[in-house]
Amino acid sequence: MTLLRDLAVQSVQMALVLLLAPLLTGLVRKVKARLLRRVGPPLIQPYRDFRRLLGKESIVATNGSWLFCAVPYLVFALTWVAAALVPTFATGLLFSWSGDLIAIVALLGSGRFFLALAGMDIGTSFGGIGSSREAMIASLAEPAMIMIVFSLALVAGSTQLSAMAVYLLSLQEGLRVTLAMALFALIMVAIAENGRIPVDNPATHLELTMVHEAMVLEYSGRPLALIELAASLKLLLYASLIGCVFVPWGLAPPNSDLRGYAIGLLSYVGKLAVCGIALAAFETSIAKMRVFRVPAFLGAALMLGLLGTLLRFVSGSF
């Protein structure tokens, strides 16, 4: 029975992240547009884009290799698997033990690895510029993320996300310095990893400032639909991660009843909405920074993560 329920939770979660991901992207766009006093596209525009792209023919450059054609599916799969391992509305995921937070970070790293390769496959200069800058950003964002994982794992005594969420739910004391540092660092990393302002601009039309968009410049039609979906999934994943670790309230514990799941679901949607609105507000209030300012930004995240970890190592009580 438990097995069946966990399987159901797992399947619902996998479908849920897929369904909600474009909505979150749509929400961010809408709120941003409203903050800029534009009407903005409807909330469901990302779904429409997806359907439209799916129906279009795919144009592959003459010298595109099999890797170029396979990467969108691979990147989507890697991101989806990673998103399926992050507890969203309930902790009792059937397969959550098959990968801990380190594995989730590494799965996202795999996605980036292949996307950067796809950017170099056609042999254009824009693809190369995107891949090279993405590699530079990742080389600092990933260690920062690992340090965040370390500080969280040292607080919770586990690298399993479900165990972390359960532990942090049971935490009675007030704020912890390590957790606060980890939260700040995680937000910074999430901004960089998702290519949001100030690190990268997802809505840019100036090629020289693109990072993520430059890598996928050669994609069109169905592969582009998958890549866009994967990008939305990644944004959702980071929002879920922040929600699951830092505001775990509402998460349905394993073996809870339907009411518990309903509360979990509602609180999850609420957390996502808050994250989306906060992101949109943040993005409209800040200017994009120069590419070579990004290392300083991410270096700060890395130092925050390291400091949080060190505090835990040196003293158990922070």
Binding site: N63, S98, A106, T124, S125, S139, M147, L226, F313
Partner: protein, 666 residues
């Protein structure tokens, strides 16, 4: 089984190397030498695996070597584990060379030394006294030195070989001193006597530092690594694979054997030293790899990085062991050993790929490659697997061992020493940085050499290599996936080693449901490469199916878009050095004093603008250059002693005699 069957195989390799002198000039020589090497190393591989799985120890004393001591041999789980690593690499290299070796222009410079090199490495593993160990160690060093010199007409290779032999001699000297300290006043060099005698703390610490120099220079620890990126690429590619993938592991073996087995109980600060050296090597190696555009040299630098990972594992194991935290020490040791095994597979695979590219294009410089994925599909797929594995991407094998190392780091708040408490998280950050940079490095390797458009005519005309190298590439790529999906089998096999030195083992992974990896407990952390692999495959196929069912199916080939301005000149692609430019700017300016210099032509001139990148190696500038300068300064001063008159010489002899007599008299 055990030593009684292992030694004949090694003797067979030695005999083969003698026979190869005669065979080398005949047409069949390549077939016979590599074929027999393949059979013998496969036999040794099977024996090693059996000995490791059974956990049995077998020993033998032969009346060879020093007449009063004899040659002692022993196969214990540690030796068996490394026997597996060495001979897996050796079998792969032999298989690869069945095809690759036929392109060799002067096979007599390679064939006799190849089996000798294999025999030397195998003998180091089974040696059970210092004399046999050092003799085998020198066999290994000299045979590989001869192989580095195989293409000796290239002055760069001669320089590489010279630096290698100097560093190897210094390393052996350090090991010799370490063994003499361990042998103590009785001077008994058999390992079972050294094991019983417990050295004092000062002696033991001196031994650690000497071994760190001796084994560390062979493994490529920073700052003793300078020979490695020169010598490994200079050898023929299958030998490069052996040197980088396997010989560095023999050095790791020597370190473990002496420090964990012979040198008594470790002091807590030992871990600190080893950890620092490991973390520094990891970051230094990968940063250097990112600055380099010679494909084989990039791989050699990446070896330094991975050796750093292994030594961080070993340093953690030492720190835990010194504090009596046996379970944590076992985890760290298993992580190090598993990474040694995985790295042997991954690095051999990539050197095979580099050799295949070298055969197909005649190029080692990545800036002259491009588009090889279309011309060499099998090589490209295998190299892609290797690149992904070395970038520590799940679900491949490199990730499994790095994950274990990170898990071991997470156990270190238990350590009581403040130095370790502060250093270990910093090392964790360095490792994470190195892993992320490694991913960038291998995006660059694969993206520049295999993807894009061909940059030269050589790359344009590349042809896929023949069947033997393809078989070796495919087999090793399969191993990367297999040990990534089922790392539990490898960690279970390695538990015999932790039982031998630490008396504990990780929980048996064979009992864990779904063959997951659970180092401590399921609540704490678990990782299941197999399930992740299945999930990725299922979701990707599901996505493909849905897109196929719901989406349009039209696909058109068209010129590249490139924002409307595609340039047909392949030189407009991103090159290896332009890919590295952001990273060079972020890290290189401080570490390597890198700077780009742009030379613009004067106005009106049609000459092209030029950009040159200047990179300095601080290790060479601040450590080796002064050292070499000092040596030549002293040598020049002493040189005058050779041009004295006979009277002065007589005076010198007389003075020496008087001083010696005075010393004796006092």
């Amino acid at each position: 089984m055990g030593i009684a069957t292992t030694l004949p195989c090694i003797a067979g390799l030695l005999a083969l190397s003698v026979a190869a002198i005669a065979l080398a000039r005949s047409r069949a020589g390549t077939w016979i030498v590599y074929g027999v090497s393949l059979i013998l190393s496969a036999a040794l591989l099977v024996q090693g695996a059996q000995a490791l799985l059974s956990g049995a120890e077998t020993s033998l004393v032969l009346p060879l070597g020093l007449p009063w001591a004899g040659a002692h041999f022993l196969i214990d789980p540690l030796a068996a584990a490394f026997q597996v690593i060495v001979n897996l690499g050796a079998a792969g290299a032999s298989l690869y060379a069945l095809g690759y070796g036929r392109h060799e222009k002067e096979p007599w410079r390679v064939l006799p030394f190849f089996p000798l090199f294999l025999a030397g490495m195998n003998l180091v593993l089974v040696a059970d006294d210092a004399f046999t160990f050092l003799v085998s160690w020198e066999f290994m060093s000299l045979a590989s030195w001869a192989l580095v010199l195989a293409h000796h007409r290239d002055p760069e290779n001669r320089r590489a070989a010279f630096i290698y032999i100097v560093m190897a001699s210094a390393g052996t000297l350090a090991l010799l001193l370490a063994f003499s300290l361990l042998a103590g006043e009785q001077g008994n060099y058999a390992f079972n006597f050294i094991r019983i005698a417990t050295p004092g703390p000062v002696t033991a610490s001196a031994v650690l530092l000497l071994v760190l120099i001796g084994a560390g220079s062979k493994a490529g620890l920073v700052p003793l690594h300078v020979w490695l990126p020169l010598a490994h690429p200079a050898a023929p590619s299958h030998v490069s694979a052996l040197m980088s993938g396997v010989m560095t592991k023999v050095a790791v073996y020597a370190f473990i054997r002496i420090i964990f087995d012979l040198d008594g109980l470790p002091e807590p600060w030992w871990g600190l030293v080893v950890l620092t050296a490991g973390a520094a090597s990891a970051v230094w190696g990968v940063l250097s790899a990112l600055m380099e555009s010679d494909l084989k040299r990039v791989l050699a630098y990446s070896t330094i990085e991975n050796i750093g990972f292994i030594f961080v594992g070993l340093g953690l194991a030492l720190a835990f062991h010194a504090n009596g935290l046996a379970t944590a020490a076992a985890l760290a040791l298993v992580a190090a050993l598993l990474h040694a095994f995985n790295h042997a597979i991954m690095k051999s695979l990539l050197f095979f790929g580099a050799g295949a590219v070298l055969t197909a294009t005649g190029e080692r410089n990545m800036e002259h490659m491009g588009g090889l994925i279309h011309r060499m599909p099998v090589t490209a797929a295998a190299v892609l697997t290797g690149c992904a594995a070395l970038s520590a991407l799940p679900p491949l094998n490199g990730f499994a061992s790095e994950w274990l190392t990170l898990q071991a780091i997470l156990l270190s708040p238990q350590l009581p020493q403040w130095g370790l408490k502060i250093l270990v998280p910093a090392c964790g950050a360095m490792l994470a940085l190195a892993a992320a940079l490694a991913a960038a490095c291998f995006i660059r390797v694969f993206g520049v050499s295999f993807l894009g458009r061909p940059r030269t005519a050589n790359a344009e005309g590349a042809r896929e290599v023949d069947a033997w190298p393809q078989a070796a590439l495919a087999a090793f790529a399969f191993l990367c996936v297999a040990f990534g999906a089922f790392p539990g089998f490898a960690t279970d096999a390695l538990s015999a080693v932790t039982l031998e030195f630490l008396d504990v083992r990780l929980p048996p992974q064979a009992d864990v449901p779904w063959l997951a990896l659970v180092p401590i407990s399921a609540e704490r952390s678990s990782y299941d490469g197999f399930l992740i692999l299945v999930f990725i495959a299922t979701s990707a196929s599901l996505a493909a199916l849905v897109v196929w069912l719901l989406g349009s199916r039209a696909t058109r080939r068209a010129p590249a878009w490139d924002c409307g301005f595609p340039d047909s000149n392949p030189a407009t692609q991103y090159s290896a050095s332009s890919f590295a430019q952001p990273l060079r700017r972020v890290f290189g300016t401080t570490v390597f004093q890198a700077h780009d210099r742009v030379v613009m032509p004067p106005p009106g001139s049609t000459a092209p603008a030029r950009i040159t990148v200047e990179i300095r190696d601080p290790v060479w500038d601040y450590f080796y250059a002064p050292l070499a300068g000092g040596i030549s300064f002293v040598a020049e001063r002493l040189n005058t002693l050779q041009f004295l008159t006979i009277r002065s010489y007589l005076t010198l002899v007389f003075l020496t005699l008087v001083i010696l007599l005075l010393v004796v008299a006092l």
